[in-house]
């Protein structure tokens, strides 16, 4: 294609179970920390698993301008995670957004709001069961029997008028665009765990075409609620392991499932021109993207991993790269028996022998499944590995399944020159797969 602009990443924002902000997150990864623990947000004793990856305590008011504090009452947990990650990403990029200027953390002039967009992936947000439960009981008798007529007459008036606005998926982007004053192209991809990759890929294409100069993109989701535990349990996605440290085991022979978690990952994507003009520090250049659908089944992984393979293969073609050009595999590694087998087959199909020659990284053993936020957190980990030329360990990958040739690091991080990586993500439900290729920026 002619006249496309080069696109680079200049900032990372992470709110993960092993730390908020890139420095905490990177320390957590290199130290091999585990962010999974017994859930303390609610009583899990009758649920099939009580484990979760919970983000360390934070106050969302510390991540928005003073004038916006009141509006934080309208934020569900998913929105809070996006707002925290957005603040961290803008800070890491030294991007003078409205939020950072109003908080006194940067100076005018602000980045041009009409050239600044947002593409933030979101999940199916669970209504706050406390808030909803308290209202629903007003239309129920003592035995718990609910009366829809009573709900219509009076019950529903116990819900705050703006209740719905906490749970629309695009309210993540709504709050972030207001707080940071991003008025250009905006989108909310809702494709489960593939959301972040699709969002970043789409933003990459939009900047390349000149639609905007800067985009804050990625995703956020919280699965730390009873509904998400039940949903994962019913769909047989939950790890059966009791110990938090060893619950999620990507690509391991004895892997048994995922651990629910919460998290937000947002990155700042910028045209190279724009980044250079403001003297930004560049993490990497985005050079390849592709999305693909699995046609095997709408809810079950394809044993051959064809959709995953197609996304990886097309993203490398888009980047003009062959397997020998790739230095790091940023795997999705759900920790589920069938899904990981499909992913392994896909890596083998596309990268062949190269799979056994280069390091790989899969971080869900440490942080769990962050839903729509997963992909951007994976990418942040890979970008930090590239920046430091260091591959951190991948928790619970020390007993690989037969035929698994992915080379995960055990114990201490290793030094390895990393000039490029490919990262893939796919939804546990649905057919969406997406891959991104990034490389170190050179003139």
């Amino acid at each position: 294609m002619s006249e496309t602009k080069r696109v680079v990443i200049t900032g990372l924002g992470v709110a993960s179970p092993i730390g908020i902000g890139v420095s905490d997150f990177w320390d957590g990864l290199t130290e091999g920390r585990c962010g999974i623990s017994p859930i303390n947000a609610f009583d899990t004793s009758t649920l099939p698993s009580g484990l979760g990856g919970q983000v360390p305590e934070f106050r969302v008011t510390n991540f928005v301008p003073k004038t916006y504090r009141k509006s934080t009452k309208l934020m569900s947990r998913d929105i809070e995670l996006a707002v925290v990650a957005a603040h961290q990403a803008a800070t890491d990029a030294s991007l003078p957004t409205r939020c950072l200027i109003d908080r006194g953390e940067m100076e005018e002039p602000a980045v041009d709001p009409t050239r600044f967009g947002a593409n933030i992936g979101a999940g199916l947000i669970c209504p706050d069961l406390n808030e909803l439960g308290a209202a629903l009981v007003t239309a129920s008798d003592d035995s718990g029997s609910f009366d829809l007529k009573a709900w219509g007459t009076e019950g529903m008036s116990n819900l705050t008028p703006l209740w719905l606005l906490k749970f629309l998926p695009n309210m993540l982007a709504c709050h972030v665009t207001i707080v940071h004053d991003a008025q250009s192209a905006s989108n909310t991809i809702t494709c489960c765990e593939a959301s972040s990759h699709l969002a970043i890929g789409e933003a990459f294409r939009s900047i390349a075409r000149g639609v905007m100069d800067v985009c804050i993109c990625g995703g956020a989701e919280s699965k730390i609620n009873p509904m998400a535990v039940a949903r994962f349990a019913l769909m047989d996605h939950l790890a059966k392991e009791a110990s938090p440290e060893e619950a999620c085991r990507p690509f391991a022979g004895n892997r048994s499932g995922a651990v629910i978690a919460e998290g937000g990952g947002l990155v700042i994507l910028e045209s190279l021109e724009h980044a250079k003009k403001r003297g930004a520090t560049i993490y990497a250049e985005v050079v390849g993207f592709a999305a693909a659908g699995s046609t095997h089944h709408w809810a079950k992984p394809d044993p051959e991993g064809e959709g995953i393979a197609l996304a990886i293969q097309k993203s490398m073609k888009d980047a003009g790269m062959t397997p020998d050009d790739i230095d790091l595999i940023a795997a999705f590694g759900a920790g589920l028996p069938e899904h990981d087998a499909a992913e392994q087959a896909a890596w083998n199909a596309v990268l062949g022998d190269r799979v056994g020659q280069i390091p790989a990284l899969a971080i869900k053993g440490a942080i769990g499944n962050n839903g729509a936020g997963s992909g951007a957190i994976d990418i942040a980990a890979a970008l930090l590995a590239m920046k430091h030329n260091t591959v951190p360990p991948s928790r619970n990958t020390d007993a690989p399944a037969d035929g698994n040739s992915l080379r995960f690091v055990q114990g201490d991080p290793i030094d390895a020159p990393i000039g490029s990586f490919v990262s893939v993500a796919y939804g546990l439900n649905g057919v969406q797969n997406a891959a991104l290729v990034m490389k170190k920026y050179t003139e």
Binding site: M1, D43, T44, L47, S71, L74, P113, A118, L124, L129, N130, G133, L136, V137, S140, G144, F146, K149, G152, M156, S157, T160, L165, F167, L168, P169, A173, C174, T177, I178, H180, Q183, S184, A185, S186, N187, T188, T190, C191, E202, R205, P226, V229, A230, R231, M235, D236, A291, A292, G293, S294, T295, W298, K314, G427, N429, G430, V431, Q432, N433
Partner: protein, 434 residues
């Protein structure tokens, strides 16, 4: 080189019917698809009516294959039925050299309806147990006892908003790019815009795109009723959807799906397909203003319309018809009118504008695509559909909304607006084929 993007197939499932020609005729006749809500007992709700899809059966569209998707949500079934119509019209089923990896899906699909009574039972028992235990919060253990027992895997999974796009990928063997956006009421306009970008840059040759949604369920209506976004005109519901009328009191919730087959011009020409229209412009913006209010000067809508026309290399004088977002809420209609005036200037009063939401209600995530299909039909027949129930002029809404009666008009280019809660704005520009 950027590829040109054309429409070669269209289909819909709407409150006014399920075939392109029949629904179009009803719209030109100014008919209304609103009725008493029957999907659930809304008798005591502030709003007791809606625009429902009636007598829907998936096998009418999918034949034996409907059985495979029997557990899909109402949304996904609407999507499959609308997509099948679009696919059939496109003639792609007979195109044997179709490369599945170059056929993608991009939907603005809503979440599937919640498993309401089971969900509520778990929440109520969880909360009551919490009260008994004095924790002033939901008791997770009591919730779990009910939730794990009553909720079921398939119903939960089918609520994920990406599931309609997933069913479509399998049904049409589409291995190309697949995504779903859920930007509230702007979703399917956004999906078509993004899908057209995918073809434009060569990442796919064919995209099935559009939207699907049903929020006519107790929690959906509760949410909109609490926001006071819905009309409460229970005693006169057939005229309740009154976009741009001074007496408007909110929108009427509808449901349904619309789908289009988008194709690169070369691909369509190579197989001798009938070209229905060309997508020439797309603009997406955020208000970035307030969570609850639209920007007073229509900053976001103005930017979206302007960008879409810039991309199309067109000026306001070139636009023959505007399909308004036109929800019938006080704020939307006022600010959309102001935004059109700001963008169209002297051409604003002479450009016909209509809101088909007056007739079929607001299909939320699916609203944009049915409005785009309406633009294509307006171009084909040189007829613009009316805004019905428009009898009382509002000084804030003083443009030509094609009140009450359809009208012949030369239409070769149309612009379609969709605006979502939270300040999401999307605009498409569509032009006669060739």
């Amino acid at each position: 080189m950027a590829h040109r993007v054309v429409i070669t197939g269209m289909g819909w499932i709407t409150p006014l019917g399920d075939d392109i020609e029949g629904v179009w005729k009803r719209m030109l006749a100014g008919e209304c698809g609103i009725g008493k809500t029957t999907i659930f007992d809304a008798e005591t709700f502030p709003t007791q009516f809606s625009a429902e899809v009636r007598n829907f059966a998936l096998d009418r569209y999918l034949g034996d294959k409907a059985e495979l998707h029997k557990d899909a949500s109402r949304n996904s079934k609407f999507a499959l039925a609308a997509a099948q119509q679009a696919w059939d019209q496109s003639g792609l089923a007979n195109w044997t050299t179709l490369d599945p990896t170059m056929v993608g899906i991009y939907l603005g699909g809503g979440e599937g309806p919640v498993d309401f009574f089971n969900f509520v039972e778990a929440a109520v028992k969880g909360w009551q147990s919490g009260q008994t235990k004095g924790i002033n919060a939901l008791d997770g253990a009591a919730w779990g006892n009910v939730g794990m027992n009553k909720l079921n895997a398939v119903c939960e999974m089918e609520q994920d908003p990406n599931m309609a796009a997933s069913h479509l990928a399998v049904h049409f063997n589409a291995a190309g790019p697949n995504a779903n956006t859920l930007t509230a009421c702007a979703a399917s306009t956004q999906a078509i815009g993004e899908a057209s970008m995918i073809i434009r840059r060569g990442d796919a040759s064919v995209m099935l795109s559009g939207g699907t949604h049903s929020m006519i369920h107790p929690l959906g209506v509760t949410g909109f009723n609490r926001l006071t976004a819905l009309s409460n005109r229970n005693d006169d519901f057939m005229t309740a959807s009154r976009p741009f009328d001074r007496t408007r009191d909110g929108f009427v919730l509808g449901e349904g799906s619309g789908m289009v087959v988008l194709e690169s011009l070369e691909h369509a020409q190579a197989r001798g397909a009938t070209i229905l229209a060309e997508i020439v412009g797309y603009g997406s913006t955020a208000d970035a203003f307030r969570v609850t209010d639209i920007h007073e000067e229509g900053r976001g809508p103005v930017a979206a319309m302007t960008r879409a026309m810039q991309e199309a290399e067109l000026t306001p004088a070139d636009i023959d018809y505007i399909s308004a977002h036109g929800t019938g809420t006080s704020e939307n209609d006022k600010i959309e009118t102001l935004s059109i005036k700001r963008v169209f200037g002297e051409h604003a009063p002479s450009t016909p504008i209509s809101s088909i939401k007056s007739m079929m209600g607001h299909l939320i995530a699916a609203a944009g695509v049915v409005e785009l299909i309406t633009c294509v039909l307006a171009i084909r027949d040189n007829m613009v559909p009316p805004t019905i129930n428009l009898h009382n002029s509002d000084p804030n809404c003083d443009l030509d909304y094609v009140p009450n009666n359809a009208r012949p008009a030369t239409v070769s280019t149309a612009l379609s607006n969709s605006f979502g809660f939270g300040g999401q704005n999307d605009t498409l520009v569509v032009k006669a084929g060739k």
